[in-house]
Amino acid sequence: MARMKFLCDADRCIECNACVTACKNEHDVPWGINRRRVITLNDGRPGERSVSMACMHCTDAPCAAVCPVNCFYTTADAVVLHSKDLCIGCGYCFYACPFGAPQYPRTGNFGTRGKMDKCTYCAGGPEPDRSDLEYVKYGRNRLAEGKLPLCAEMCSTKSLLAGDGEVIAQIYRERVLQRGYGSGTWGWQTAYREAVEI
């Protein structure tokens, strides 16, 4: 099986936020929750870069490790998913996540969080593939339809890549060699404990 990863080639990202919009639309993500976001570094200064970031589906995922009810599981494609039936909204996965991926609807008293929501790599959840229940809780299951995550699929500059880690790393490697520069695979060292060697 493939080891699915995201790779954002920051030298190509034009901060159009189409990935953010596509994700929200594809999965009917509730108001106030963003599964994907674009962050601009050094904004307005020389060397400015934008990076599109969501759940990186880490190796040895910190969210899964700290979850007090073990609601996370990793699919055969190494996609990190969770069960909203088991989630209690404690927030620990947000404390542990290096990428700020887990999101919570505000419900209940004080700062009580609702069931956590995060990027599913367009792979749904524990419910039967492509069922209505799965769509309502987790959004579209594009992987079950043989498609890749929409954010990367429709990226206008092909900055955001999704797919088997080996394949997208090779695409990035060839790009860097071709154009002669690359500002690196953002988040890879933290998420996968390896960067792409050029």
Binding site: I39, P62, Y95, P98, F110, R179
Partner: protein, 332 residues
């Protein structure tokens, strides 16, 4: 070609051919746009995390990467269970050994039947308010750390998730009566828990637990004062760190919430262990101790042995000398 055009063309050629360092040049001779660009490695090395600007309303989402989450993972899954396990199991073992070796602390003199008021109802109410909240908070709090290891294998993931959901609500809700109880506790008992001249002697003789000879004490002995100050300091630390988590990201950022977790969890583990000792000595560990907090009255024999100076001071408070009778006071 006019002279000015020639000059302009020459300048252009010079500019294009101006030697650029090899590192800044791409194969197609275009300038390298990453020469000045930020790099992940450098940003993480300088700041430990990467923050930027974001266009969605959630300002906290502007943190691109915080690898400290991995350290939080190590703390929560390795360090914390060990700290808690050693503190709590260590205390239980110590108390069991003490109980088996020493047994309950009984009175040396027979009960007199005469009672003296030790805690008025406000004090008892505050104590049990704080105690009940604390036990609920402790059980539901420990569930966050040990539940999935101990309870989930027994009752299964679905039942455990339902229980944990309620445990979370209870933890968030009972925090408030605990804070109230803590505040009133400080107000009621701070004065009697300031150090006095009997404390060093009490500590030196370890309260007479082993020698069976009671050192003198006023209303609270040095051991009780240590419990009081543990509750006050521990409770205030838990309150402060708990409020940071109760209102996530309202005080500080993700780093602040992680620090609050470290402090909250470690302080709670230690305070639970200390409270186990307090519960032991207040119930099966000492004859007559529970009466003080249930009915509020203690036997004079108990007061004489455990709090001699307090008994004398209480006796001296009335103009007619010690008023230790158990009967109701006649209504003039």
């Amino acid at each position: 070609m006019s002279r000015s055009k020639v000059v302009g063309f020459a300048v252009l050629i010079v500019l294009v051919l101006l030697p650029q360092s090899a590192a800044q040049q791409a194969p197609d001779a275009a300038p390298n746009p990453t020469a000045q660009s930020v790099t992940e490695h450098e940003l993480l090395r300088q700041l430990g995390r990467i923050d930027g600007r974001i266009t969605i309303p959630d300002a906290h989402a502007a943190t691109l990467e915080q690898p400290r989450g991995r350290e939080y993972q190590a703390f929560h899954e390795r360090t914390l269970p060990w700290i808690g396990g050693i503190a709590i199991i260590g205390m239980l073992v110590t108390l069991t050994v003490f109980y088996l070796a020493r047994g309950p602390i009984t009175l040396d003199t027979p009960l007199t039947g005469m009672k003296i008021k030790r805690f008025v109802w406000v004090e008892r109410f505050t104590h049990w308010l704080t105690a009940t909240s604390f036990i609920i908070l402790a059980v539901t709090g420990l569930n966050y750390v040990f539940g999935k290891r101990l309870l989930m294998p027994l009752i299964g993931p679905d039942a455990f998730a339902t229980w944990s959901q309620w445990a979370k609500y209870m933890h968030n809700t009972f925090a408030w009566p605990f804070m109230l109880g803590l505040a009133v506790t400080i107000g009621l008992w701070l004065r009697d828990n300031l150090p006095d001249r009997y404390d060093l002697e009490w500590l030196r003789r370890f309260g007479g637990f082993l020698s069976r000879r009671h050192p003198p004490a006023r209303r609270f002995n040095a051991g009780q004062k240590l419990i009081f100050w543990s509750v006050v300091l521990g409770g205030l630390i838990l309150t402060a760190s708990g409020l940071v988590m109760l209102f996530p990201l309202s005080i500080g950022d993700i780093g602040g919430i992680q620090t609050a977790q470290y402090v909250h969890a470690v302080a709670a583990m230690l305070l639970v262990a200390i409270m186990l000792a307090h519960i032991y000595i207040g119930t099966i560990g000492m004859q007559g101790a529970l009466d003080a907090m249930v009915s509020g009255d203690v036997d004079v024999a108990w007061a004489r042995e455990h709090h001699r100076v307090w008994l004398e001071e209480e006796g001296a408070r009335t103009p007619d000398g010690p008023q230790l009778g158990a009967g109701p006071i006649p209504a003039e």
